[in-house]
């Protein structure tokens, strides 16, 4: 800064700040950029970086891409019962790269569900939900609810047979909740039966309310994560952990970005190989179509086919009690499990429950797929 004041005889100036450096200095002076960047990157990870920690960051990446592709789709998509289907077909068949953006958005939603599941499994197996991270876990559960609702509301928007029937059955399941079920179902449908009002409501949820809620809660989630500090590995002495500790940058960021690239390539590949194809336009008559939900709900759909859940009581157990009890258990988990032991191999109940849930999901998904052939 004292270049101007320096004597004219000093010809040689060791360093002239470039335009970029000047701009950075300008911004830094006004926003404290450098300190902010340092704080963001210099977060100690006890025990060092790991591939297992990539899922949270990958989820943020997937969400950003869903927001981008979703905003682009809205340039052509029209959320009305008489145009939703045609506008979606137009995106697929007429708009340049429309098929790709729509297919990316479609497979991105699957990737999101897979990653939420992986992320939840990781924090569960690592015992990262335990004190002092109870709130972090709770906000995580709210995010899980949002991701599922994203899938459910988005599924209706193309307004084809698949969309219509999955929604119809989904809403009927909500209707089975005691006391409030009827109200919730009518509230979502915007009437006694699905129609334009249902599409409008799902659309507003999908493109406005859920993204806003997800951004707010993800912000809170990361804030809580930073306040609580990363949980780190579940075994090892303090000295061992200290010796391996490094900052978020560069090793963990490197792993995160590789994870993102991997997921990006995976979604692109799926979009190329299995682009979205619509069925017939939605009508209240399924015709030859066998209604089925999105693949990640298939296991639950197959579960509802069990004899155990037959009849009104069985239905209540399967459609209401079971998911509610499961959610309540997840909410109560960090408060019930007070044992500070985080090593998953010393928490047999946790390990067995996780394996059991995995087995049920896999078995019932496979059963649902096998059942398809039996139906035709």
């Amino acid at each position: 800064m004292n270049i101007k004041q320096s004597a004219p005889t000093t010809v040689h100036n060791p360093h002239q700040p470039s335009a970029v450096e000047k701009l950075v200095a300008f911004l830094d002076e006004r926003m404290g950029l450098k300190e902010m960047q340092a704080k963001m990157l210099n977060e100690p990870l006890p025990g060092g970086s790991r591939w297992a920690y990539v899922f949270g960051s990958v989820l943020l990446f997937i969400f950003a891409m869903q927001a981008l592709t979703g905003m682009l789709l809205m340039f052509y998509y029209v959320p009305t019962a008489d145009h939703a289907y045609d506008s979606t077909q137009y995106i697929i068949h007429e708009v340049d790269y429309g098929w790709f953006l729509l297919s990316y958005h479609f497979w991105g939603s699957s990737a999101m569900v897979v990653c939420v599941f992986a992320h939840m499994s990781q924090v569960f197996l690592w015992g990262a939900y335990k004190k002092p991270r109870e709130l972090l876990w709770l906000v995580g559960l709210a995010l899980l609810g949002i991701v599922i609702t994203f899938g459910f509301t988005g599924y209706l928007l193309p307004w084809d047979q698949r969309a219509f029937w999955a929604t119809l059955v989904g809403v009927e399941i909500l209707d089975k909740a005691p006391l409030v079920g009827d109200f919730i179902a009518r509230f979502l449908k915007g009437g006694p039966t699905p129609g334009q009002m249902t599409l409008s409501r799902f659309f507003v949820l999908h493109v406005m309310i859920l993204p806003a809620a997800l951004m707010a809660l993800a912000g809170l989630h990361i804030f809580l994560f930073r306040v609580a500090a990363p949980a780190g590995p579940f075994k090892g002495t303090v000295e061992e952990i200290k010796a391996k500790t490094d900052y978020f940058f560069p090793r963990q960021i490197w792993k995160d970005i590789v994870g993102m690239a991997f997921v990006f390539v995976g979604i692109c590949a799926l979009a190329l190989w299995e682009p979205v194809v619509l069925l017939d336009k939605a009508t209240p008559d399924p015709g030859e179509y066998h209604p089925e939900p999105e693949w990640y709900f298939l296991f639950y759909f197959q579960l509802l086919r069990l004899k155990l859940f037959a009849g009104q009581l069985g239905q209540f157990i399967g459609a209401v009690a079971l998911p509610v009890v499961f959610m309540v258990l997840l909410v109560a988990l960090p408060f019930m499990d007070k044992d500070p032991e985080r090593n998953i191999f010393k928490r047999p109940i946790a390990l067995i429950s996780w394996i059991a849930i995995m087995v049920v999901i896999v078995l019932f998904t496979v059963a649902a797929v096998i059942n398809r052939e039996f139906l035709d």
């Binding site: 300190e35 210099n42 977060e43 008489d82 029937w165 009927e172 039966t193 334009q196 037959a310 009104q312």
Partner: protein, 311 residues
């Protein structure tokens, strides 16, 4: 023991060697682990807290002689970051390294504010009072289309001469005009299953009693007479609302099968297998001499043991 303060003099067993210029915190315990001593005239040394014997207000007394401290390697600033550049929450919470408190004056106007709690609560109450009157209008706004009157119109669905065989489910498709909110009336496709019933089947369906349909007030809308040899079932599966089909089943013969969760109903509409909580919903049906059939398009809630009409 007090925490060492910045600028405190540092005293070895033999002489005073300098002053505290920095402190180093342990990122895990959040305690001071080292002090950095600027040695009079010969750079800085990093001294572990283990060397410290006593700390008083302005003096740090070490256990070692000055030669031992001077023999320590020089302090390497580049091995450290400041607490502003790293995110370890609550790191500084109980560290008091600054000599005394750092203060700013309270503005004059703030000094005269007495009832801080009152003003805080007042703000919250006003905020609440702004929100409260909005809640009900918002709810009503969103509830507008949720409840609709039942429509008991008769709709023509086709002609029974399409039915070739008795006790066999035949699907009749028809259009229904609906009017949703502000939108022009439009047609949706619906379907109903009609059987020409043999007397045995009729017996099983009606149990010798006519079937009455009443409105919410209990007034009879229509009675299906037990001797009319036709039965109509709503196309909506009473399990969770899918559409079912008339199919050949390996052991049960000809049945209504719902592909969603595999509920199976006999020609009478009763549940033979699967998760459905009640049989198929029979609809009010009128068959004219010409064979023209009309039904009242009713829809019932799926998943309940008793019928609950919603359309």
């Amino acid at each position: 023991m007090l925490q060492p303060k910045l600028k405190s003099k540092v005293q070895c067993t033999d002489l005073n060697i300098g002053e505290v210029t920095k402190v180093v915190l342990d990122p895990l315990s959040h305690e001071i682990s080292h002090i950095v001593v600027s040695v009079n005239g010969s750079g800085e040394r990093q001294v572990a807290m283990g060397h410290v014997q006593v700390v008083t207000d302005d003096l740090v007394q070490l256990r070692a002689p000055s030669t031992e401290i001077l023999a320590l390697p020089p302090f390497k600033r580049e091995d450290y970051v400041t607490t502003h550049e790293v995110e370890i929450s609550h790191l500084e919470d109980h560290i008091h390294v600054t000599p005394g408190e750092v203060l700013v004056p309270l503005p004059d106007l703030e000094k005269s504010v007495k009832r801080r709690t009152f003003f805080m609560n007042f703000t919250n109450v006003i905020g609440f009072l702004i929100g409260l009157p909005l809640a009900y209008p918002i709810l009503r706004f969103l509830m507008k289309p949720m409840y609709a009157e039942f429509d008991n119109q008769w709709l023509k669905v086709g002609n029974v001469n399409k039915i070739k065989q008795a006790d066999v489910g035949v699907q009749f498709k028809y259009k229904k005009k609906v009017k949703e909110v502000y939108m022009p009336e439009y047609e949706i496709e619906k379907n109903v299953w009609i059987l020409r019933a043999t007397p045995e089947l009729l017996d099983k369906v009606y149990n010798d009693k006519d079937a009455e349909f009443r409105d919410a007030k209990g007034k009879t809308i229509w009675t299906n007479k037990k001797d009319v040899p036709y039965v109509a079932f709503s196309g909506k599966c009473p399990h969770l609302g899918c559409g079912f089909k008339w199919r050949q089943h390996k052991t049960l013969g000809q049945v209504f099968l719902c592909p969603c969760h595999l509920s199976i109903y006999g020609a009478t509409g009763r549940v033979l297998d699967g998760p459905a909580p009640r049989g198929l919903d029979a609809l009010p049906l009128k068959v004219h001499a010409s064979g023209e059939v009309e039904v009242i398009d009713m829809e019932f809630k799926a998943g309940t043991k008793l019928q609950v009409r919603i359309v």
